[in-house]
């Protein structure tokens, strides 16, 4: 058993993890040095940091920038976009710190797209009243991730453990975090890493669904690990379908395509969004904020479902599709603003967007819910923080607005890093750690996992692949937990998940090598997925109303029901028993719940604001 000692451990090397690690390093360099302590920070990631899924974010990062915009407007858009299920104090903090964080990224070298005068350019985005989305062409996540990764190289306090797969948390009887257990992928060796604070930044769980825009690594690992230790997963029923994924693969076609003026048409060439409360139709080449194609993602994906039911969708391979029309933007403009989209459309559906329609359909994109944290990103376990898509700090409510999450990982990544560093510094100043008790926890965890892994790879047992279980899981989630849901479908899916959890007990890995046993890793990821899927399905079943991305088909549940469900769902793990759901009050102290208005309904909204 190899053991390591750190002050702060960051699990995950995507945007949130990197931003948190940098913040912790800076906090250590200033406050730490002042009190004569240095902070050693470990960053563990199951992939090299620049492979993390932040890399695939395309459209941009939101912050109030223009003189005619206000933080109050960004707040109002975010809270309404989330159908009033966002924590309003958290949203308020977010909109006030968003701009400074994007400026910080600029000063670290992020190649933001610019106006002729050298100022940063902003673009339109769905559900945003004013242009406030910063972008780096259509590879914003890529540029942010690489900028953060490269900047992190400046900080000697950050020690990277690339390709270490975190299996578990070390938690003592007083519910304080003590460290993590990780598998070194290149050797198969288990490592115990101790620390006074741990930050989970492990990303979402889109791979729980068959048809998604996510990379193969987006399997909810951190969510499941925290959940198994009693931290509730919050608002898991809210799963965002991005309206424009490529058929077949699910590859993401950015919302910026519509922000730049792209339109959606059905198989008859009709701009169908005007029939779903998003009209009147805006003239071609003249997009209007919060109208038509610039409505929020939940409404657009739901409109697709209705078009599909009515038989007005076209076909691409086996997929029902509608079409994204970018032709009127012209080749030169497309190359400047949407070069990656042109490349993706050409490679994966053999379409040139300058001359042809791009077939698209909704695909699972983002988990609004996650590890429940307070407004300082701390979980129910002392010293355990969570940030980014794996977390539910309460920013997105029932539906995330595009370009809020890239800013989220900066604003809350910094906050989580600073808080964790403070926790570690306070720990260093206080009484000495009970190393004997801690080592005992580390050893027990190590032995439990050693046993589990040997069992999974035990060649005495009959080989049983994880593949059929994974396929059954993603199929049942899509069937029962999709854009529209009902009691019978959810019950069936929940029963299927419970059965699959039983089946997973019998898996025996085919690959018995120690080095780079990706067969084993994918099996462990599937086990994480099964737990996360159960929380999504249970919360969707219990939320008998329609709100944001969660839509029920039963006529009694088709409307939002604030009297009963203006509450967060929290799902708790129970060993060897079905999960348990409890409700939690929502912070609505700034803006009372109201109707969400888009398209022509927004007329007169300005007067209300004033």
């Amino acid at each position: 058993m190899q053991q390591h000692e750190f002050d702060v451990i960051v699990v995950g090397g995507g945007g949130a993890g990197l931003r948190a690690a940098i913040a912790a390093a800076e906090e250590g360099a200033t406050k730490g040095t002042a009190q004569g302590a240095t902070l050693n920070i470990a960053m563990l990631s199951k992939v090299y940091p620049m492979r993390s899924h932040t890399v695939a974010a395309e459209g941009g990062a939101a912050a109030v920038t223009r003189a005619d915009d206000t933080v109050e407007a960004h707040f109002a858009d975010t809270v309404a976009g989330g159908d009033w299920l966002a924590e309003q104090g958290v949203v308020d903090y977010f909109v006030r710190h968003a701009h400074a964080e994007l400026v910080q990224m600029e000063r670290w070298g992020c190649p933001w797209s610019r106006q002729a005068n050298g100022d940063v350019q902003v673009r339109r985005f769905g559900g945003m009243k004013t242009e406030r989305t910063w972008f780096a062409a259509d590879k914003t996540g890529f540029h942010m991730l690489h900028t953060l990764f490269q900047t992190s190289l400046k900080y000697p306090a950050i020690q990277r453990f690339d390709e270490y797969f975190v299996l578990d948390l070390l938690v003592n009887d007083d519910r304080q975090v003590q460290g993590v257990l990780a598998l070194e992928i290149s050797t198969g060796a288990l490592h115990v890493l101790y620390a006074k604070a741990v930050i989970m930044a492990t990303g979402g769980a889109g791979r729980v669904f068959r048809f998604n825009t996510n990379g193969g690594i987006v399997t909810g690992d951190g969510m499941a690990i925290a959940y198994r230790h009693g931290v509730p997963l919050r608002d898991m029923e809210f799963v965002q379908y991005h309206p424009t994924g490529l058929p077949g693969s699910g590859i993401l076609i950015t919302e910026a395509s519509r922000g730049e003026g792209g339109v959606l048409v059905n198989k008859a060439g009709y701009r169908y969004l005007q029939d779903y409360g998003l009209g009147p139709e805006t003239p071609l080449g003249k997009p209007e904020n919060k109208h038509m194609e610039l409505g929020p993602r939940d409404k657009l994906s739901q409109a697709f479902w209705h078009e599909q039911q009515a038989g007005r969708t076209g076909k691409h391979g086996d997929s029902d599709v509608v079409y994204l029309d970018l032709r009127h933007l012209g080749k030169a403009y497309l190359q400047e603003r949407l070069p990656f989209i042109c490349e993706l459309a050409q490679s994966y559906v053999n379409v040139d967007p300058a001359t042809q329609l791009i077939p698209i359909r909704p695909a699972v994109h983002y988990t609004m819910g996650g590890i429940a944290t307070d407004r300082y990103c701390e979980t129910a376990i002392q010293g355990l923080y969570a940030v980014g898509e794996c977390a539910s700090v309460g920013l997105h409510g029932a539906n995330r607005l595009g370009s809020n999450s890239l800013t989220e990982l900066l604003v809350f990544g910094r906050l989580a890093g600073e808080q964790a560093a403070k926790q570690a510094l306070a720990g260093a100043a206080s009484a000495a750690v009970d190393t004997a008790a801690r080592t005992h926890i580390g050893e027990r965890c190590y032995q439990r996992w050693q046993q589990k892994l040997s069992h999974l790879c035990d060649t005495q047992r009959e080989m049983r692949s994880w593949v059929p279980i994974k396929r059954a899981l993603v199929a049942t989630m899509e069937a029962g937990c999709g854009i529209y849901r009902d009691e019978a479908g959810l019950q069936e899916t929940l029963a299927t998940i419970h059965q699959l959890q039983q089946d997973a007990q019998h898996i025996r890995i085919g690959d018995t090598s120690a080095a780079y046993n990706t067969d084993l890793l994918q099996c462990l990821e599937l086990e994480f997925c099964l737990d996360v899927a159960e929380t999504i399905c249970l919360a969707a079943l219990e939320r008998r109303e329609s709100r944001g991305a969660h839509q029920r088909l039963e006529s009694a549940y088709q409307a939002r029901n604030d009297a009963e469900y203006l509450q967060h769902s929290q799902v708790f793990f129970r060993a060897n028993a079905p999960a348990e759901l409890r409700w939690q009050a929502v912070d609505t102290h700034i803006s009372a719940p109201a109707e969400r208005l888009y398209g022509g309904q927004t007329a007169g909204e300005g007067a209300k604001d004033a």
Binding site: M50, A56, R114, F142, S186, G215, I217, G248, Y348, Y516
Partner: protein, 267 residues
């Protein structure tokens, strides 16, 4: 669905001393990528085959492999590219045996297992060129309050200034150019195409003042002058970064800085 023969080079360090070839038959259509084929093999035929992948949209840079001897991103290279023209459109159902596709780990790197190579050999070079903005912030001379004010604002950078380095900022660190580079094959200490492109990305950035700090690595024995300008690195780049152009620009810069050094004794 048609079938295609695929040969994969395996290497299991604890079980076999030497790499060996394994042959598979994989169904495919016009959208099947090399990565799809590898995932099919893993899920249906042999779970022990190991390779890296994630985004499947040519942006995370994980899945570089050699396909018929050429470095490729597995997710952006398609089986259709290796078949006789019009094969998919034809009525023929004969197995495509003449066109067996051979997949190997990226050349010039140490193979760890199967298609997985040691990417740290690439990362050390990347880190060596100080790939981050270096500024003489002048915090010492500026009153603290004014300094904080400056930090609250963005730098100006015109689209033309951005265009100077933007291409070099598009590198996804996939390592294909290192597998294409004969010099890196001969001398693993050579800084290599992607790292030099990244150095140029920052050297050309109007906000950066760190060129002097980066030049020693580029000027050194394993820097730009190791390159013999074969240019294959740019041919294989899946993101059109054109690292060969960066290396060439680096040579010009290096020559200048060495001349200056000769006359002034300063770097």
């Amino acid at each position: 669905m048609r079938n295609c023969s695929i040969a994969v080079q395996r290497y299991l360090p604890h079980e076999h001393a030497e790499p060996f070839w394994q042959h598979f038959t994989v169904p495919f259509d016009e959208s099947t990528s090399i990565l799809d084929a590898l995932n099919y093999i893993k899920e249906e035929l042999d779970p022990s085959l190991s390779f890296r992948w994630s985004c499947r949209m040519a942006i995370c840079g994980s899945c570089g492999v050699m396909v018929n001897g050429i470095p490729k991103l597995g997710c952006k290279d398609f089986l259709r590219n290796y078949l006789p023209r019009n094969y998919l459109a034809s009525e023929s159902t004969a197995a495509v045996s003449a066109a067996e596709i051979r997949i190997q780990p990226l050349a010039h790197f140490t193979v760890e297992r199967d298609l997985i190579v040691d990417m740290n050999e690439f990362l050390v070079h990347l880190e060596a060129v100080k790939p981050y903005l270096i500024t003489d912030a002048g915090a010492d001379e500026t009153p603290l309050e004014k300094h904080a004010q400056t930090l609250a604002q963005t730098n100006k950078q015109t689209p033309a200034q951005l265009a100077k380095y933007k291409q070099f900022a598009n590198c996804i660190n996939c390592g294909l150019c290192y597998s294409a580079c004969p010099q890196f094959g001969l001398n693993p200490e050579f800084v290599g195409p992607a790292a030099i492109a990244l150095a140029q990305r920052y050297n050309l950035d109007s906000r950066d003042q760190g060129k002097a700090a980066r030049m020693p690595v580029l000027n050194g024995h394993n820097g730009v002058w190791s390159c013999t300008f074969v240019g294959f690195c740019s041919d294989v780049c899946p993101k059109h970064v054109d690292p060969a152009a960066a290396v060439n620009q680096g040579k010009v810069e290096s020559a200048k800085s060495m001349l200056i050094q000769m006359f002034t004794g300063r770097g």
